[in-house]
């Protein structure tokens, strides 16, 4: 506590008179008797002990591992993300390749057929002009 002025120190002109202070003090008197205080201490320490025992649960045994576990989980998550991305890219490539391989011969065939059709059409036109 500081040396600030306290009631009922002399010089505190605003202070209540002693009789009133005595009455208030009586109204707010703390429990008397050591039994009460030792009982209160026991209740407090019982709660503290309960707190401590709950603090020593399995989750507290594991608590020191929480940070490394979080870091490891984050690393695994990131790695899984990278692997997943690679797999997706790989699957896309395979799909693309298979699509290209299966479509290309048809395209070529179609192109050849078109060419022959075009050639056939050109030949027919030429025959028509020659014969007339």
């Amino acid at each position: 506590m500081t040396d600030e002025l306290r009631f009922p120190a002399s010089g505190d002109r605003d202070s209540l008179d002693e009789s009133l202070v005595s009455l208030v003090r009586e109204a707010y008197a703390p429990p008397d008797g050591d039994a009460y205080w030792s009982g209160l201490e026991s209740r407090i320490m019982s709660r503290v002990a309960g707190q401590s025992s709950s603090d020593s649960g399995w989750w507290n045994v594991l608590a020191p591992w929480a940070r490394p576990a979080l870091i490891a989980a984050a690393a695994i998550f990131a790695l899984a993300g990278v692997i997943d991305q690679k797999l997706i890219e790989s699957e896309e490539q395979v799909s693309y390749d298979s699509l290209v391989q299966s479509v290309t011969p048809e395209v070529l065939t179609t192109t050849q057929e078109l060419s022959s059709v075009e050639r056939g059409a050109d030949g027919a036109t030429l025959s028509y002009f020659l014969s007339h």
């Binding site: 202070s15 209540l16 009455l23 703390p30 429990p31 209160l40 407090i44 320490m45 707190q51 401590s52």
Partner: protein, 178 residues
């Protein structure tokens, strides 16, 4: 402020997890802590709850306590906060109930009945904070700054509250004073 060697040793041991040392701190400070709580919550049972809650909170955060500081000032602030929490939870309370609550079972039964009745009524009519300030300062001897820290208000506000609380109390009891 010089911290007594016994308190410092107990606080340091308690910080290391020694419950017996913490019990020693409880023994040293529970009466004062009770008075702080009682000034705020008024009701004996609530004051006791606030003291218990305060010490349990202190134990939970004992590693944050600086042993070079006063454990008493630290625990009083924690208990005051616990008492304020209880007050907030039980904000609605009639004047009659409060007046009954002030009828402490521990007071001197020889006190004049009318004086006590009037005093209880007058105290119950004071705003919560004004009543706390007047009891903490005029009865328990805390400074404005200490009261401000406990109640979460500036020291100047505590001083102002005290002045107005005294005026009101005097006004309400003026016909009883000779």
């Amino acid at each position: 402020m010089r911290i007594p060697d016994e308190e410092r040793a107990l606080a340091e041991a308690a910080r290391g997890g020694d419950q017996d040392a913490f019990a020693g701190l409880v023994r040293l400070h529970q009466r004062r802590a009770y008075l702080v709580a009682r000034a705020i919550v008024t009701v004996h049972e609530d004051a006791e709850d606030a003291v218990q809650d305060g010490f349990v909170r202190a134990w939970q955060s004992i590693d944050r306590f600086d042993p070079s500081q006063s454990f008493g000032a630290w625990i009083n602030r924690i208990v005051a906060n616990a008492a304020l929490d209880i007050t907030r939870r039980r904000k609605v309370r009639s004047t009659e109930e409060l007046s009954d609550a002030l009828r402490s079972p521990f007071r001197d039964p020889a006190l004049d009945a009318e004086l006590n009745t009037r005093l209880r009524e007058a105290l119950s009519k004071l705003p919560d904070r004004a009543r706390s300030v007047i009891v903490l300062h005029d009865i328990e001897g805390f400074t404005h700054v200490e009261i401000g820290e406990m109640l979460g208000i500036p020291g100047g506000t505590a001083r102002s509250d005290l002045h107005h609380a005294r005026q009101k109390l005097r006004e309400m009891l003026k016909d009883l004073r000779g």
